[in-house]
Subunit: 306 residues, 2 copies
């Protein structure tokens, strides 16, 4: 059987790397495939921490497939996928995002609204009765911790906690909370990242009442660390607003220890943002206690207010 | 929680009815939903036989949802779905067809290339650790038998046989083969169906090399029963060719006991059909030994030849 490649999304995070590893292992051991997990870029600081912790190498990097068939994990839309997706056959998809997908034939397409793709894959291993090696279980546990902020994000589902518990046990993680905080902190070393990288790394654009609203998010253990670099960040945001024509740019700076966020709002519509969250912005900055999820807690009230 | 409806595809067959029943039961018992299985039309003769055998009523019929949320089984494309699909939210999909689907949010979307959707749902029940009632298991076993022609169709996968065996056991079917033949025969009482219904019931159009090729399929236990009505059938086909502008019409008459088919070819391109199957047509009729699957054994060689 010809080799198949398993790809996560662009700008790989811990869930996309762990899920590529897990999906490849699953289809090789449960369905007789000969697949190789890949990444579309170098691991981020958090993923590097997890890889080192469990003694694993980073995945080979490629942004196109040199095989006829691929699996996709943690994404299903072409914009987030490999460059030559249109030229290859998608054999399977494991994902937890909204769907925009078309195929010419039936395939394995497992999409569930769970906290992480690693959670979905944990249950697929159970169903296929395939044992998970300890290091892989460690990466999958790290993915659940990362995507659910240690089960505290509102994206967390009832299925994530038992999966994390079982995977941590296989991986030999004695104190999930302690390991989880170490992992999340490893991902928040912002000092080495440029202002442009901070505002761009995770940013997405949304159309809201005729306005283009760009929303970026940065995780940290101290929001003041980020706002200490405000001049530099503000310059980078204003440059993007001018270059890309955004009406509003919102940077969500999330304290992963306290599960709170501060936002920095630049451009038009500051009044609408104030209305959305029922707060007052001071010099563009405001506090959103208890807010950690852009998808569940930031976008919906903004959409409403705009 | 507000009630949700579970819909199979238009022109319901045994797999779509059994899967609607099974998916509804699964989500109610595993995920706390309050759902109702529906059908987009009256059951066919085969499904009626299965319902009567297991003491079940036919599903309520509707072609639109009066709820905000629906589940879809055995289809995911709008053309085969309810009339107001665009106005409702799809909460989940269980299917085994090619995918053409777009959503605004993550959802349960379980698509696997297995012989029947009932097979997929059997494993979902296992994963969720929900017991399947005997009558429902009987319908699910009937669906596997129907879609795989008693595991003899080339659409059969390694997952179908163990699912059928387990479901038959729960349903108290002692002799799966004997029950399966009875069920399939019940679906082949063609005497009560009009010629137009026979050629239309299961027909699909395909674009092949600039030609519109219409391919219908009829299951029977004696192909001569069908060809005894050839004049009537030929008139109905020629009427459709004239009305709908098909270049070629192929009726595949499949003997489900022997797993062979005869074809009747009307319109243009008889030479291309002969080339596709390496046969000679006599007065438009030819034999295709071992051919039972339109999807796997009829369409691909025709596409090649055209």
């Amino acid at each position: 059987m010809a080799k198949k490649l398993v790809f996560g999304h662009k700008n790989p995070d811990t869930d996309t790397v762990a899920s590529a590893m897990a999906a490849s292992y699953l289809v090789n051991h449960a369905y007789g495939e000969d697949s190789q997990a890949m990444a579309q870029g170098e691991p981020n600081a958090e993923t590097k921490f997890a890889l080192a912790h469990f003694g694993l190498e980073a995945l080979p990097v490629a942004t196109a497939a040199d095989t006829d068939e691929v699996y996709l994990v943690d994404h299903n839309e072409a914009a987030q996928s490999i460059d030559n997706l249109a030229d290859v056959t998608v054999t399977g998809v494991y994902d937890h995002h909204k769907i925009d997908f078309k195929s010419n034939a039936p395939l394995w397409f497992i999409n569930k609204p769970l906290g992480s793709v690693a959670t979905i894959l944990y249950y697929e291993f159970q169903q296929a009765d395939v044992e998970i090696p300890a290091a892989l279980a460690g990466m999958m546990a790290s993915a659940i911790i990362s995507d659910t902020l240690l089960l505290k994000s509102p994206t967390t589902t009832p299925q994530d906690q038992p999966a994390l518990e079982a995977l941590a046990k296989i991986a030999g993680i004695d104190d999930v909370n302690a390991y989880g905080l170490e992992l999340l902190k490893a991902g928040t070393d912002l000092s080495s990242r440029s202002a442009k990288d901070l505002i761009d790394g995770d940013a997405k654009s949304f159309e809201m009442g005729g306005n283009t609203v760009r929303i970026g998010q940065v995780n940290t253990v101290d929001v003041d660390d980020v706002f200490a670099r405000r001049d530099e960040i503000e310059a980078a945001i204003n440059e993007e607003i001018a270059a890309d024509g955004y009406d509003t740019f919102i940077l969500v700076v999330t304290n992963i220890l306290d599960s709170d966020s501060d936002i920095l709002v630049l451009g038009q519509n500051q009044d609408k943002v104030e209305k959305a969250f029922n707060i007052e912005l001071t010099d563009g900055r405001g506090s959103l206690p208890g807010v950690v999820s852009r998808k569940k807690q930031v976008v919906p009230p903004l959409t409403e207010a705009f």
